[in-house]
Each structure stands twice: as structure tokens, then as C-alpha cells.
């Protein structure tokens, strides 16, 4: 059981955790959770770190874990994010490719233990980054991280989703404009559902997106949130790529557009890592997939709109008292900057 209780949620989570783990490890004896600690950072899930010690088959076992539970109201509730089995299955499949992602251990898909859906995964080493890689870091480390960043993306896109067993959690889009249209439909639906007021620039952007839908017949596994800020790193480079809840099948240019958005660039570098053209060159070299700059541009516009829709979902949750998290209010302050980028991009 947790050793330090300093408020009610820790007691609640500690008790649920103990019951859940006892059922997941029926052969385990003397299960002991220690170091249970709520983590800050990401706003889309409640996150706790803990250590687990137990005995099994006459030996001592231990592990370092992360528990992620849905908040009372998710920052965004899209078809992609409401079913925790989605993220669990995708990350397991990607782990099988040998990519640096956490090993998924246990899932409480219906929230019968934790009150809300939750999953437990391996706790990986490394520190998080802000949304742009810190300018203060050693340039050699930046270069290493940049190359790994592109390598991981190329490997995800060339993985061959058909063989990953993902079709039961994600449906491939149809040919031509369907991949782009599906994303525009998704984020427009989020905007319409969650906005508390109308935003002229965002609505102009949806009109622009619908008249500029690009075509692709190359469908890949798209991470959906592939950017600096969603990986851990140490002095050796990237140790873990996280936050796969928006993964879906779509256009590979979507991840490139998102990763290269000005919103998380630093010192004029994509993600604070490397110049955009250099990123494209490396990506083509590693993946063999040609970069179509027009499609990337479309997905940059969509990226700004998507980020604004996510922020407005947070604002709604905050204003209606569904989220006990001031971060949800602060993300609303990002919207004007996103809109400034959109206005420039679509020539408003």
C-alpha cells in the first residue's frame, strides 16, 4: 500500500491500485506499492508514478510503473480517445517493432477498478521536454535527438499497419481525399461540440481546409501527436515516445505537418530540433517516402485548427467546472496565437 497519504485522491488511487494489481497478478504474493506520486505535465490524463514489489514463484519481483487514468472530462473526447483499448493496443503493437515506447502492462478499460478507464505501463527513464527542445541543451545532443526523432517517425510510417493487428481499433480511410477529409470532419466536430463561442478565424480555416483537401493513396500508421514535448530524453537521446492516444491510419504528411508547426518551433527549428528542410531530407532518406510540401502545408493549417479545438475543449471543461485543472484555462490563452498562424497561412 502507498506509504505517504497527503490527500484523498492518493488514498483512493492507492486502494484501487492494490485491488487491481491483486487481480492482475493472481500468483503474486505480498504486493507492495511504494512511491505513489501524482505527476504534472500532460493535461489529457491523470498520471501517477509508482513502484511495485511482489513475490512470485519463490522470487522477489519489482517494477517501475505509470498509471494513466481518464480525467472526469477528457480534454478532448474524439472517437479516437474515448476507448482506452485503442491506445493500449497501438502502443503494444509499436513496442513489438522495437521502438522506444513504454511496455503496456494492464488495462482497466471500463473503469471498474479506478472509477474511470485507466492503464498501467512501464515507467521509462528520461526527462520530458517543453514543446520546443530546450535551446540550452548541448548542440550534439540536439542533433542526436533530431535524428532519432526522424528515425522513429520513419519507422512508424513504414511499419506496415496491416501486419500490426490494428484493424480492429482503427479503420483505414478510403482513397484520394478521404484521409484528409476524415481529419477535418473529426476536428470540426470537436470544435462544434466544445466551443463556448464562435471563432471567426477558426471557421474561416475550416472553409479553407474543405476547399484544399489533398489526395493520398499511401495510408500509414499516423501517431497524431508526434512532436517535441511528447518524448523523454537523457544524455543518450530519446528514451521513450509517448502519447499515442490520437494514433490513427492516415496520410504520413499529417505527422510531418504537425511536427513542423510554428507553434512548437524554437529558434526557427522544427520542434526546436532542426531546420524543416533538413527534417524533410532526413525523413525521405530514412522512410523512402517523398515529402509533398503542399500536403505538409495543409496539415500545418489543420494542425493549428486541431490544437485550437483541443484548447477550446479544455476551456469548456474548465468553465463548466468539469475539470479541476487550471491548465485547462491556460490552454485557452494559446488560441489567439494559433489563430494568428492560421490567418497568415490562409491569407486572411
Amino acid at each position: 500500500m502507498p506509504q505517504i497519504h497527503y490527500n484523498a485522491w492518493e488514498v483512493e488511487i492507492g486502494d484501487s491500485l492494490h485491488r487491481f494489481l491483486a487481480d492482475q497478478l493472481p500468483q503474486g504474493r505480498n504486493l507492495r506499492v511504494s512511491g505513489l506520486e501524482r505527476c504534472g505535465g500532460g493535461a489529457s490524463r491523470e498520471t501517477w508514478a509508482f513502484d511495485l514489489h511482489w513475490q512470485e514463484d519463490g522470487g522477489e519481483r519489482e517494477g517501475r510503473y505509470i498509471l494513466r487514468r481518464d480525467p472526469p472530462v477528457s480534454l478532448l473526447e474524439t472517437g479516437l480517445t474515448t476507448d482506452r483499448r485503442h491506445e493500449f493496443t497501438v502502443v503494444r503493437a509499436v513496442h513489438g517493432l522495437g521502438l522506444p515506447v513504454p511496455r503496456m502492462h494492464w488495462l482497466d478499460a471500463d473503469g471498474s477498478y479506478f472509477g474511470r478507464p485507466a492503464l498501467i505501463m512501464e515507467r521509462m527513464s528520461g526527462q520530458p521536454t517543453p514543446p520546443a527542445f530546450p535551446a540550452s541543451e548541448d548542440p550534439k545532443l540536439r542533433e542526436t535527438v533530431a535524428h532519432q526523432f526522424v528515425d522513429i517517425l520513419a519507422r512508424v510510417h513504414t511499419a506496415g499497419w496491416q501486419s500490426l493487428g490494428l484493424t480492429w481499433v482503427m479503420e483505414p480511410p478510403g482513397p484520394e481525399q478521404e484521409a484528409a477529409r476524415r481529419q477535418v470532419d473529426l476536428w470540426q466536430a470537436v470544435y462544434e461540440k466544445d466551443r463556448l463561442e464562435r471563432h471567426a478565424i477558426i471557421e474561416e480555416a475550416f472553409l479553407w481546409l474543405r476547399t484544399h483537401l489533398p489526395s493520398t493513396n499511401r495510408i500509414v500508421l499516423v501517431h497524431g501527436d508526434f512532436r517535441t514535448g511528447n518524448y523523454l530524453y537523457d544524455e543518450t537521446g530519446i528514451t521513450a515516445f509517448l502519447d499515442w492516444e490520437l494514433a490513427h491510419l492516415g496520410d504520413p504528411m499529417e505527422d510531418l505537418g504537425w511536427a513542423c508547426m510554428r507553434f512548437w518551433s524554437g529558434q526557427g527549428l522544427a520542434g526546436g530540433l532542426l531546420p524543416e528542410e533538413e527534417l524533410f531530407r532526413l525523413y525521405e532518406e530514412r522512410s523512402g517516402i517523398p515529402v509533398d510540401r503542399e500536403r505538409v502545408f495543409f496539415y500545418k493549417v489543420l494542425g493549428n485548427v486541431k490544437m485550437a479545438a483541443i484548447a477550446l475543449s479544455g476551456v469548456r471543461a474548465f468553465c463548466q467546472g468539469q475539470a479541476l485543472d487550471v491548465t485547462y484555462a491556460l490552454v485557452g490563452f494559446m488560441v489567439p496565437r494559433l489563430c494568428a498562424d492560421i490567418a497568415e497561412q490562409i491569407g486572411l
Binding site: E37, R38, A200, E204, D325, T327, L330, F333, M334, L348
Partner: protein
């Protein structure tokens, strides 16, 4: 009037900064407390500007809607055109909730005009888009100024 809202917010910030935050263990709760301070600073710097901000925004919306009516009256549903025409702005000394209500209604009307213009002749549609774009650029300037204290930048 003293302590006024600004005095109170500044005082709460001092208590949080000097007593509450240092007493919290490093980690999640301290991080949330710091974000809360950030929001309080935004409120302290902006609370007294809210009525003027809303009045400016509503006046710009009203002006743009009148222009849109001139441009696209024949292509708007009769009910919407009448709504825009008959709209009477809130008094200058209206309380903030009334100004907010008016703002929501005007924004809604503008979106409805744009939707209706989608099926209008190209020339009308183009002029409607231009009017809305001009409004949106000004609105963006106001919004960027509004979030200057509190904007998340990295």
C-alpha cells in the same frame, strides 16, 4: 471600494507566493499552484478592462454585420436579415454579463451570414468573406492583447 478586486487579487497572489506555495511538496500540487498564480496575474491585470474590451468587440461586430447586410441582404434568410437590422446594442453602462450575452449573439449572427453566403453568387460571397476577414484581423489583435498577460509561450 478598497480593497477593490485588484487589491484582493494581488493580496491572494502574495499569500500564495509567500506562504502557500513554499509549504507545498515539490511536484504536482506545487505545479498546479504556480499555474493558478499565473491565472491570478492575468485576472489582476485585466479585470478592469473587461467591459471596454467587450464594448469594442461588440461595436466592431455590429458594424461588420451592418456592412454584411448591405452586401448580402438579398441572399440572407429574411429572418436573419431582420434580426441584424432590428438589433439594438446594449447600453454603454451595461454589466459584463449583458455584454457577454450580446457578444455571443452577434458572433452567432456573423457565422450564420457566412453560412448563408456560401450559396450566394460568387461576387457576394467574396465580399462577405472580405468583410469577415477584416473583422477577424482586428478581433485577433484584440485577443492577442487580451492574453498578453498569461499567454503560454515557449
Amino acid at each position: 471600494m478598497r480593497p477593490d478586486i485588484g487589491d484582493i487579487l494581488a493580496g491572494v497572489q502574495r499569500i500564495m507566493t509567500q506562504e502557500i506555495v513554499p509549504a507545498l511538496p515539490p511536484g504536482y500540487l506545487r505545479e498546479k499552484a504556480m499555474y493558478t498564480l499565473f491565472l491570478l496575474e492575468h485576472c489582476r491585470a485585466r479585470w478592469h478592462l473587461a467591459p471596454a474590451y467587450l464594448r469594442d468587440e461588440n461595436a466592431a461586430l455590429h458594424h461588420t454585420l451592418q456592412r454584411l447586410l448591405e452586401v448580402a441582404r438579398d441572399d440572407l434568410p429574411a429572418g436573419l436579415a431582420a434580426e441584424i437590422e432590428e438589433f439594438s446594442p446594449a447600453d454603454a453602462d451595461s454589466p459584463v454579463p449583458a455584454l457577454q450575452e450580446e457578444n455571443l449573439r452577434l458572433r452567432e449572427q456573423m457565422s450564420r451570414v457566412r453560412d448563408a453566403a456560401d450559396s450566394a453568387p460568387p461576387r457576394v460571397r467574396e465580399r462577405v468573406r472580405k468583410e469577415i476577414a477584416a473583422f477577424a484581423r482586428k478581433q485577433l489583435e484584440r485577443e492577442r492583447e487580451w492574453v498578453k498577460v498569461g499567454e503560454v509561450v515557449w
